[in-house]
């Protein structure tokens, strides 16, 4: 059967079970949009291409499926770059289709031409320029395969206009592409090594990361921890991979981690790091990170091993399969932890937790941002999918909202992309229309992709924005306070729109709380609405995120902030 390129694209998307795409039309993709017009595939029209990629990213993070977007050539394509780099740093499976000028014009500086495969080479897992309609189906199939296999990541497929208009024979059974799936089987010797280390350890600790969520290994990790009473800390990307309300959970580690997690890392003598890449925000100075521990590192990507931290036992493999093997191995070898030594270790951690709990100074005069997040947790019972922007809003969310389920905390970890939270929330809500989906935002970040309120309003995608509005670029201001003698260079954002009026102008419900007493009722009202809502919480302006490890310091040296608390 002869089909046009545009028809083949939609056929393959159907075969890949794509149920939604996020996009923005333009000259080079007119033919594809014309084909979409005749199809049943759901398309969400965003207001900026960056929003399309973040929305597809949010959809992917929440659902575990591949997120898909479609944009035009030139500026449409370059606008996706921040979104693609965001997904790449956090290993999120995306397929991004970009329009391209006809093949005959490539290289001629044609209208809206850009070398998008060249531009995105360093920030995609792989990318393709389809030069011939005969390669189209196989290329798209391979793109989906690459995006989701191994360590996932974004794949860009550049589609020249003439290729999409050309016809070719299409038979799904004849579409062949290279298989890149690599299966790793850990040698039994490695498991035996691990058991040896664990048996001689008296202070074991697990560190969980984004690879546990991507690898769908939360159940195995949780079983391992609970069965053998090994406490767990996690990276930002690992939040939700182990139940946040479990007594064995120590919270996040690193720069804004809990004191007790960082102390546990610094004192443990055995560290099982699963699906992490030892980012500098997590480790502090490398030399002092887990300096007393034998480190075992499980990761699917060989290039992550010994990249930042040199480990004693690397195990390359899928987190789920490897943890399953480990559980079986420990069972078969009748591993039982020494009761007394485990009690002593957990007791030591409990003392750190008691000495410096995660807390902040309450106030009855002024809204504390942390209290908004705590109230949100209380009202939702934690049963919500939370996205964040980047900065203080993100760190407070990581600290004060316990995540009990994987794929429920959706945040730009590696790249730290401001403007991520709102479009990501739209994507999450598309995947889970019946769940509470909340973007915890700052007033700086929200303005970076505020135009997506129009998208939410148009399709009545009822995301809720909890805006922690302090009139500053809060995290940068915090660094200026601490390290630049309070020279607040260009971080005062007092000049801002009236967010309630702005929300209303977009067709979104706008609410505001200025006093602590109003926080709960505003949150209740916002959550109860069946419409998208923006809630503007005027919070204390110069609140800092504590505890904090100063850059270039050991993570055991934490600044705790002012400690006069109302107990």
């Amino acid at each position: 059967m002869k089909l046009k390129g545009t028809e083949i694209l939609l056929k393959v998307l159907e075969e890949e079970k794509v149920d939604i795409i996020f996009g923005y039309p333009g000259g080079a993709v007119l033919d594809i949009y014309d084909q979409l017009y005749k199809s049943n595939l759901k398309h969400i029209l965003v207001r900026h291409e960056q929003g399309a990629v973040h929305a597809a990213d949010g959809y992917a993070r929440a659902s575990g499926r591949v997120g898909v977007c479609l944009v035009t050539s030139g500026p449409g394509a370059t606008n996706t770059v921040t979104g693609i780099a965001t997904a790449n740093m956090d290993s999120i499976p995306l397929v991004v289709f970009t329009g391209q000028v006809p093949t005959g014009l490539i290289g001629n500086d044609a209208f809206q031409e850009c070398d998008i495969t060249g531009i995105t080479r360093p920030c995609t897992k792989h990318n393709f320029l389809v030069r011939n309609v005969d390669e189209l189906a196989a290329t798209i199939k391979e793109a989906f395969h690459i995006a989701r296999s191994g360590r996932p990541g974004p794949v860009l497929v550049d589609l020249p206009k003439n290729v999409m208009a050309a016809q070719t024979d299409y038979d799904p059974a004849n579409v062949k592409f290279r298989n890149h799936e690599v299966s790793y089987k850990p040698a039994p010797k490695k498991m035996a090594n691990l058991l040896d280390m664990l048996q001689t350890a008296s202070k074991p600790l697990i560190m969980t990361g984004g690879g546990v969520i991507l690898g769908k290994a939360s159940a195995e990790l949780t079983e391992l921890s609970r069965k053998y009473q090994i406490p767990v800390t996690g990276t930002l990307m690992g939040l939700g991979s182990f139940p946040g309300s479990d007594p064995l959970w120590l919270g996040m580690l690193g720069m804004h981690g809990t004191y007790y997690a960082n102390m546990a890392i610094s004192h443990c003598d055995f560290l099982l790091a699963v699906g992490v890449r030892f980012d500098d925000r997590v480790t502090g100075t490398i030399e002092t990170f887990a300096a007393n521990a034998k480190i075992v590192h499980i990761d699917i990507d060989p290039s992550s091993i010994n990249k930042n931290v040199t480990v004693d036992l690397p195990i390359i493999g899928d987190t789920k399969a490897t943890l399953k093997d480990l559980l079986r191995f420990l069972e078969e070898h009748h591993y039982t932890p020494d009761d007394l030594s485990r009690k002593t270790w957990l007791g030591e951690i409990a003392e750190w937790r008691e000495k410096v709990p995660l807390t902040y100074c309450q106030s009855s005069e002024i809204i504390k941002p942390q209290s908004v997040i705590e109230t949100l947790y209380k009202l939702t019972g934690g049963d919500a999918l939370i996205t964040t922007e980047v900065g203080q809003n993100q760190m407070w969310t990581a600290q004060f909202f316990p995540f009990n389920q994987p794929n429920s905390f959706i945040s730009s970890g590696g790249l730290g992309t401001m403007g991520f939270g709102l479009p990501a929330a739209i994507g999450v809500k598309c995947a889970f229309p019946d769940k509470h989906v909340i973007d915890i935002a700052g007033d700086g970040s929200i303005q970076m992709n505020i135009q997506e309120l129009a998208t939410a309003a148009q399709y009545n995608i009822a995301v809720k924005v909890v805006l922690l509005n302090n009139g500053y670029l809060g995290m940068v201001r915090q660094w200026q306070e601490m390290f630049y003698e309070k020279r607040y260079s260009h971080t005062d954002m007092t000049y801002a729109p009236d967010f309630v009026k702005l929300a209303e102008a977009f067709g979104v419900v706008g609410l505001r709380a200025t006093k602590p007493a109003e926080v709960e009722s505003i949150l209740r009202e916002g959550l109860a609405s069946s419409k998208p809502v923006l809630m503007d919480f005027r919070v204390s302006r110069e609140e800092c995120v504590y505890p904090m490890v100063h850059p270039g310091q050991s993570i055991s040296q934490m600044t705790l902030g002012s400690r006069e608390m109302i107990n």
């Binding site: 495969t117 080479r121 360093p122 792989h126 690459i146 990507d301 290039s303 091993i305 010994n306």
Partner: protein, 161 residues
């Protein structure tokens, strides 16, 4: 850790942007390529890239791992510590004058270099050898007045698989 020169042999699918991917992976991570040679193998759709780069063993392992992540890379082989033959080639053009022509001729004959083209005013010489031999040859010719050179990257082949 000790920094030393490594010879890395990479088999890749012969595609328009594969060299850009390989070079970009190194450049983007801050590693320098000291020399580079690329051509097809006996299979037209597969090319071999041989490059030299300097670094500690940890750095080289990182480079190999990064290259292995590329989908058009088939294999990555570090030839530094295995028995292998290494060659470079340099083409040298020397301008001949009344003063130097005798010395140039002697140098070429004594070292058994190959004269490709010999004119009244210039001579073009082809020299192959390992890095040390090429360095020696250029040092020997330098005082005689080199007009221009083109030097290939190093190529290398293992003696056994």
């Amino acid at each position: 850790m000790e920094k030393k020169d490594h010879i890395i042999s990479i088999l890749v699918h012969n595609k328009p942007d594969v060299l850009a991917r390989v070079a970009g992976t190194l450049g983007g991570k801050g590693y320098n390529i000291d020399s580079l040679c690329v051509n097809t193998t006996t299979q037209k759709d597969i090319s071999k890239i041989v490059m030299t780069t300097a670094g500690s063993q940890t750095t080289i392992t990182r480079i190999e791992n990064q290259l292995q992540r590329l989908f058009d890379v088939i294999s990555v082989d570090d030839l530094t510590n295995v028995e292998s033959i290494h060659r470079e080639m340099v083409l040298v053009r020397l301008n001949l004058t009344a003063q130097n022509s005798e010395d140039v001729k002697n140098a070429i004959d004594m070292n058994k270099w190959k004269t490709i083209v010999s004119g009244d005013k210039y001579v073009l010489v082809e020299i192959t050898g390992d890095k040390t031999q090429i360095d020696f040859a250029l040092a020997r010719l330098e005082p005689l007045g080199i007009a221009d050179i083109t030097r290939t990257g190093l190529i290398a082949l293992k003696l056994e698989d």
